[in-house]
């Protein structure tokens, strides 16, 4: 038999009251129940007695007679976190044996259930109990969805030191669970075990502004960092490395686009034995890129104890625009008490930046020179047979000129990369310092950058 779905009737029931008031059996104070039907225990805000509200007959579980502590977030206050309004309904102060203490507020919204607000005096985290179990990648790594968490705190017993407000279980001061934690930047996974149950909670770190806007809390201590506090440098370091890589790629592309050619011979020409200045015109030389750096290299194979002055003029055949450069090759050798020596080089290399595309003539004005040690006179005027040295025609002294085009502005790109790289390096150092401080509280071996420099026998 097919049942009939009744037509959608507008359910216009008046809004139900959200709060149920009950009288504390110990002090008679009016206690407000904010999650009626879910709450099992309520701690009276007037006398701190613990009441059982699991069924309509309210029972006194533990009678105390002490005023409630003033809380940073008064119970009953509401705040909106990430789009959902929450009411603080319970508060627990907990501590770990041999460890620190922390505060946990239980938040409730009838449509969204429960969350936790957790703080150890530094930042605040919003915790949600999981309905799935994280997967174990390895002993120290858990996986939830596509995120991994590194083990941070080892199993340790956590104790309830103080409670106030209402809870969905039978709460008791002195109640113990065994907790362990895993962390990743911005979030933690916590496992709590008691004799009956294992539960997992994922808590995400809230910004100070989020918490200030939602519950008006003061800013906590900011150092040392919390286990799941993201490094302030990590975010921009990642972006920085991307920019750096992008610049590097751009550079590579530019080198290819404005890239250089290999050395090609422009010509060779003899050096006048008498040392007179001469001019040769080499070319045409074609430059294909829009702009290029032109490198000119001269080699004087027979040069010895002398020098060659080289004045280059690159002349654009079309525009007659001239690009000039000056070079010299000089080389000396001899022998003294320390043995033979040489100085200088037979080659010379110069460059001209930003030469536009076109056909060029390379005009070289050059002059060979000879150096004579100790002689102050010029042999030409005394009519003696001249010692022509390296410039003697027997040597066939000549200059070999080669030309190539280099990548344009290459040096500026390197400077840009260094300027980009320097802050990256500083950021990286600060990130490592942060991560070392963050992991200093961990019960486990440092991981990632913080493991740098940590030797194995620290364990």
């Amino acid at each position: 038999m097919q049942p009939e779905m009744q037509p959608v009737a507008d359910i216009q029931l008046p809004a139900a009251p959200a709060v149920k008031a009950l009288a504390c059996p110990a002090c008679g104070g009016s206690v407000e129940l904010r999650a009626a039907g879910y709450s099992v225990s309520v701690v009276c805000q007037y006398c701190s007695s613990i009441l059982d509200v699991a069924d309509p007959q309210v029972k006194l579980i533990a009678q105390y007679n002490q005023a409630a502590e003033a809380l940073e977030i008064p119970l009953g206050s509401r705040g909106t976190l990430r789009g959902v309004e929450w009411e603080a309904i319970g508060y627990m102060q907990r501590s770990a044996y041999g460890g620190g203490a922390w505060d946990e507020y239980l938040l409730f919204n009838p449509y969204h259930g429960y969350r936790w607000l957790i703080t150890d005096g530094r930042g605040w985290s919003l915790g949600e109990q999981l309905t799935v179990t994280p997967l174990r990648d390895d002993y120290e790594t858990l996986r939830l969805g596509n995120q991994t968490y590194q083990r941070f705190y080892e199993d340790s017993t956590a104790r309830v030191d103080y409670v106030l407000g209402e809870f969905y279980w039978r709460v008791a001061v002195g109640e113990e669970v065994v907790g362990a934690d895993w962390a990743r930047p911005g979030a933690m996974l916590s496992r709590e075990k008691n004799a009956h149950e294992v539960s997992w909670t994922r808590s995400v770190l809230l910004t100070h502004k989020e918490m200030a806007d939602a519950f008006g809390v003061r800013k906590g201590a900011s150092w040392p960092p919390m286990p799941h506090q993201p490094s302030p440098n990590a975010a921009w370091l990642g972006m920085g490395f991307k920019i750096f890589a992008g610049m590097f790629l751009l550079l590579a592309v530019l080198i290819l686009a404005f890239g250089g050619t290999s050395w090609t011979s422009a010509g060779r020409f003899p050096v006048a034995p008498d040392g007179s200045e001469r001019t040769v015109t080499l070319g045409p030389i074609h430059f294909g890129h829009l702009y290029q750096r032109v490198e000119i290299r001269a080699d004087v194979p027979t040069l010895e104890n002398g020098w060659v002055d080289l004045d280059y003029s690159l002349v654009d055949r079309r525009t007659q625009q001239v690009y000039e450069a000056y070079g010299a090759a000089e080389r000396y050798s001899g022998s003294d008490s320390d043995g033979p020596w040489t100085e200088g080089s037979r080659g010379s290399s110069v460059s001209v930046a930003s030469v536009p595309a076109g056909d060029y003539d390379l005009v070289v004005d050059y002059k060979g020179n000879r150096w004579s040690s100790g002689s102050l006179y010029s042999p030409r005027y005394v009519g003696m047979p001249e010692d022509l040295g390296w410039m003697t025609p027997v040597n066939k002294p000549e200059v070999v000129v080669e030309v190539r085009t280099g990548a344009l502005f290459l040096s500026s790109f390197w400077i840009a990369l260094i300027l980009l790289g320097l802050p990256l390096l500083i950021g990286l150092i600060r990130h490592i310092q942060f991560d070392k401080a963050r992991q200093a509280e961990s019960d486990f071996a440092p991981t990632g950058f913080a493991a740098l420099g940590a030797s194995e026998d620290d364990e």
């Binding site: 049942p3 779905m5 959608v8 029931l13 809004a15 069924d55 009838p110 449509y111 179990t133 997967l135």
Partner: protein, 224 residues
């Protein structure tokens, strides 16, 4: 085909929408009624439901697993350390499922014949053995772990139901959970063992309309 009767106790109109759901609680006098070939008879009286702030209510509609549903019944169960609601969802195809509503989390569970559940551990529990929290079973090639085992008691009920929810009815209830949000419950009393299987869902997953409104709380965006 839905059948309409008058409550033998107070005369109010009571509707039975499915032969699979022969029990109901009269919405006016809380009489426990069962339907048979001869008509409707009173078999007891249900306690009134205690006030709670569950967002679900009779008449809430929604859609899940590509099926529309309506909430038509509810049983409230309690154990020594708390209480929770099991809402009965009637689907468009005539099937029904339970929506567990405990500690702010929801479980969608469908009954499965226990004869299909061929695991030694669960059969032992059905025969009267105590369940061991932490013990793992494999069902349909999936691992489920026993997370809880306790005596539960029926507190109150409303609407249409597949069984008569006698106040004070005691069951031994065993909860199981898997790593991916799968869950299951085995319930045993002196007469029979029932098995329910499903998964955790969120209220948003149910695409609900007709959620219960509370003073001072805004309905969630998807239901407003």
């Amino acid at each position: 085909m839905s059948l309409s009767f008058n409550c033998p106790n107070c005369g109010a109109e009571v509707v039975f929408r499915s032969a699979a759901l022969p029990a109901r609680v009269c919405g006016y006098c809380h009489s426990l009624l069962t339907r048979n070939d001869g008509g409707v008879m009173v078999v007891g009286k249900s306690s009134p439901l205690p006030f709670d702030v569950s967002p679900v209510q009779i008449g809430m509609r929604g859609r899940i697993e590509d099926q529309p549903f309506e909430v038509i019944g509810r049983v409230r169960w309690a154990w020594t350390d708390g209480a929770w609601n099991e809402w009965l969802l009637l689907f468009g195809d005539g099937s029904h499922a339970w929506l567990g509503d405990a500690m702010g989390q929801f479980m969608l569970l469908r009954e499965r014949p226990f004869s299909e559940v061929q695991t030694r551990t669960l059969k032992d529990i059905a025969r009267g053995k105590e369940a061991m929290p932490g013990a793992e079973i494999t069902l349909d090639a999936r691992k489920l772990a026993i997370v809880d085992a306790r005596d539960v008691i029926c507190v109150a009920a409303e609407g249409e139901l597949p069984f008569t929810p006698t106040t004070g009815w005691k069951l031994y209830s065993v909860d199981l959970r898997g790593a991916k949000g799968e869950c299951a419950t085995l319930q045993r009393d002196a007469l029979a063992t029932t098995f329910y299987q499903g998964q955790y869902v969120t209220l948003a997953d149910l695409a609900p309309t007709g959620l219960r409104a509370f003073e001072g709380w805004a309905l969630p965006a998807y239901a407003a």
